[in-house]
């Protein structure tokens, strides 16, 4: 195991009591157990409070644009399969602004992990409904209740046969660290949706709200049974399952095997290019 302090101990700008703190701790713990040194990890994020996580962790980091954490993560993972690539962002960034990228990433199945800090509200912009806010939930910006149906990330992921689909809770960081560890180890695209309270702007989905509903999936759940997994993925309300919801066997994305990676070390073969030029003669 790598000592946790190698991933830094950096002061954050998050609110006291925010679920982000526990998620950060869980990520560090998972990396430590995975024996991934800081320089072997690339953390990609979009914009938002969750998206600042890479700054509070000593590792390589690509903190890009709102909703765009996944495309650079996949680009980097394709360019260098030796890097452990983790995208980490909020529910607005991952499922709203970046919704198309989320869908495409699940279909593409590049080997990488997506950690979504899901607090069912926009925090950075002070309290608007997010894609996972329950329909009808009143916010300062949606006084008549959030008008749209809440997005079900796990159900969509199971439907798209994402080979590793899990849900964690910031209130159980030890369990969460285990899920992150399994997700990073998984060869294909892995999703961990992480429930967390937003102490400043979400007065409905509080720590107590999650605590009273979340339960851990036991051995009776077979994560390789896709239909059973879909049932568990759709369970969100009075009871919310935590753990590995689905584990599939879909082969990860493989580019042309003739493309030698990491791309950083490949150089143009001008002899081959000369032959290609001849094909234009």
């Amino acid at each position: 195991m790598i000592p946790i302090d190698r991933y830094g101990n950096i002061e954050t700008a998050w609110c006291p009591g925010c679920g982000n703190h526990a998620i950060l701790g869980a990520v560090k713990k998972a990396l430590s157990r995975l024996e991934l040194a800081p320089h072997q990890v690339l953390l990609c994020s979009g914009i938002g409070q969750a998206a600042k996580a890479p700054h509070y962790l000593r590792c390589n980091c690509f903190n890009g644009l709102h909703g765009r954490g996944l495309p650079p993560a996949q680009g980097a993972a394709l360019a260098n399969p030796g890097l452990a690539v983790i995208a980490e962002s909020g529910d607005g960034c991952s499922y709203g602004e970046g919704g198309n990228h989320f869908l495409a990433a699940m279909r593409r199945n590049v080997g990488m992990t997506l950690l979504v800090h899901d607090n069912q509200i926009y925090g950075l912009t002070k309290g608007q409904a997010s894609p996972t806010t329950a329909q009808g939930q009143v916010t300062k910006f949606q006084p008549g209740g959030a008008p749209s149906l809440a997005f079900p990330p796990l159900a969509v992921a199971v439907t798209l046969d994402v080979p590793f689909v899990a849900r964690g809770f910031s209130g159980d960081p030890e369990h969460l660290a285990g899920l992150i560890e399994q997700a990073v180890r998984h060869p294909g695209f892995a999703l961990v949706d992480i429930l967390q309270p937003c102490v400043s702007f979400n007065k409905v989905n509080t720590f107590a709200w999650y605590k009273s509903r979340c339960y851990k999936l036991g051995p009776e759940h077979d994560p390789t049974d896709r239909r059973a997994a879909l049932d568990k993925a759709l369970e969100f309300g009075e009871r919310i399952p935590l753990g590995v919801v689905y584990r599939g066997e879909r082969a990860p994305y493989r580019p042309d095997p003739r493309v030698r990676r990491p791309l950083a070390t490949s150089r143009p073969d001008l002899v081959k290019l000369a032959k290609i030029l001849e094909e234009y003669a």
């Binding site: 390589n60 890009g64 650079p72 980097a76 360019a79 495409a104 990491p262 290019l273 030029l277 003669a281």
Partner: protein, 575 residues
Amino acid sequence: MSASSVTVLVGGEAGQGLVTVGDFLAKALVRAGYEILVVQDYLSRIRGGHNTYCVRVSPDPVHAPPENVDLLVALDQASLALHGPLLSPGGLALAGEKTDLGGLPGLNVPYSRLCPRPVHENMAALGVLAGLLCLERSWLEGLITERFAAKGGDEAALNLKVFSDALDWTRESGASFACLPPPMRREKRLFLNGNEAIALGAMAAGVNFCSFYPMTPATSVAAALVAPGGRMGVLTEQAEDEIAAVNMALGASAAGARVLVPTSGGGFALMVEGVSLAGMIETPLTVVLAQRPGPATGLPTRTEQGDLNLVVHAGHGDFPRAVYAPGTPEQCFDLTFRAVNQAEKWQSPAFVLTDQYLADSYRAVAPFDLEALPPLDLPGLETPDPHGYERYALTENGVSPRLIPGFGEHLVVLDSDEHTPDGHITEDLGVRVRMVDKRLRKGRGLEADAVAPSLAGDAAPEVLLACWGSSLGACLEAAQTLRERGTSAAVLHFSQVWPLVPESFLPVLEGAGRAVMVEGNPSGQLAKLIRQETGFAFHGLVTRYDGLPFTAGYILARLGSPQGTSTVAGEEVSA
């Protein structure tokens, strides 16, 4: 017929095989040692509609689209009506046996007798063209065998027979047309278009990652990178949208790939935030923007030079960039190579502005000299002080040592927020100013490396035609005509349109009797940019924005009197 060149125009509906006729003819002519220039006009549909493939051929270099048609191959009735009026004196129209030529001089080719099936009509048309132009039978036979052999069966033999029978029929018909003068070139040349040259230049520059979302007329750049498969080690990925394409490329670039993103104006509009990101994270990015008329969807398959403003100003905030505008397939190769290297050297985005005309215009091109290519600018993989490494270290020229994550114990931290030298978010306003200044210092380097505009023609001319990108050929031909008429003329071509370095062109503009900007957009975007940067106001402006490329005749007609005493027929630059 034109004095020095012959123009063959094949017209018909999409799906009739007109590109096959044109393609075979043009490629055979290049192999035989002729110069060619192809202009393709097509509609935004898969079948039907009216399309043309036009080949201008000469033993001498040809620079621009033709004015007239010498041989009109009408695969449908509409072609006769549309292009008949362009037929030059001595020209001929070729149509089917039942087609009424409507008084045009021409031949009714007995396709039904020559072809076992209508699908072979294009081979028959090729045979007739070969007969009329007195081409050597073997030039085309070799090509036909090559192409159809891959399809197996007796396709090659069948097509060869149709071609040969049609050629014999033409010779026996006694149709008279001028034979092509013998070719001048002996050395081997390539038959390629602008977009293919861009892809080849990119591969020479070590591009090994291309993420794209298909959009005409940029798609063929990606196609040409895909075509050699993995042989050149290029990983191509069709992204879910343009936003993903540019962001994916930046992720790959950060991980050490050399990236190229091809798109067109509408797609590029979606990429603009990603361009700002490239400027902020100082990560190399090369975008090829193949222009077509806008705004919005515009004319999807036609040409324009309307996206200069978009590219020069793309992104919010200030950051340096290089914008290239090749005028020929050779420049497409050279400037794409250069763009990729400059993006790497200055860690700033670089752009190649081409357009539909150049993208689809095939030429005879001397094989690129791969041995003579300058060395590649590449990032480091390791550093002696991994723990002291700062991705955005403040430096004299603005360039910070770029390392790639995963190749040592150093950490690479890239952030779209304003950041400290080690890459982390900051709201320290003093750091903000130092970082902006650092990024802008790279602009001086980009200026020092800028390609100066090229001047062709008379010194201190009476008429100076300034242009950028693909308008070069038509301007060269227009200037040549002016000189033949006794007016001294020259062409100033900007193959790099940003940054502009006034010392490299202002004396030329000021030394001309009349400086006229020729641009494929209605407002004179480069003319305005030059005025903004230098205060120089062009004396005239010739514009074209009907979707077609410039021709020499178009420019000359709008220049007014060749002496330059009368007003310009085109719009004046506002005084």
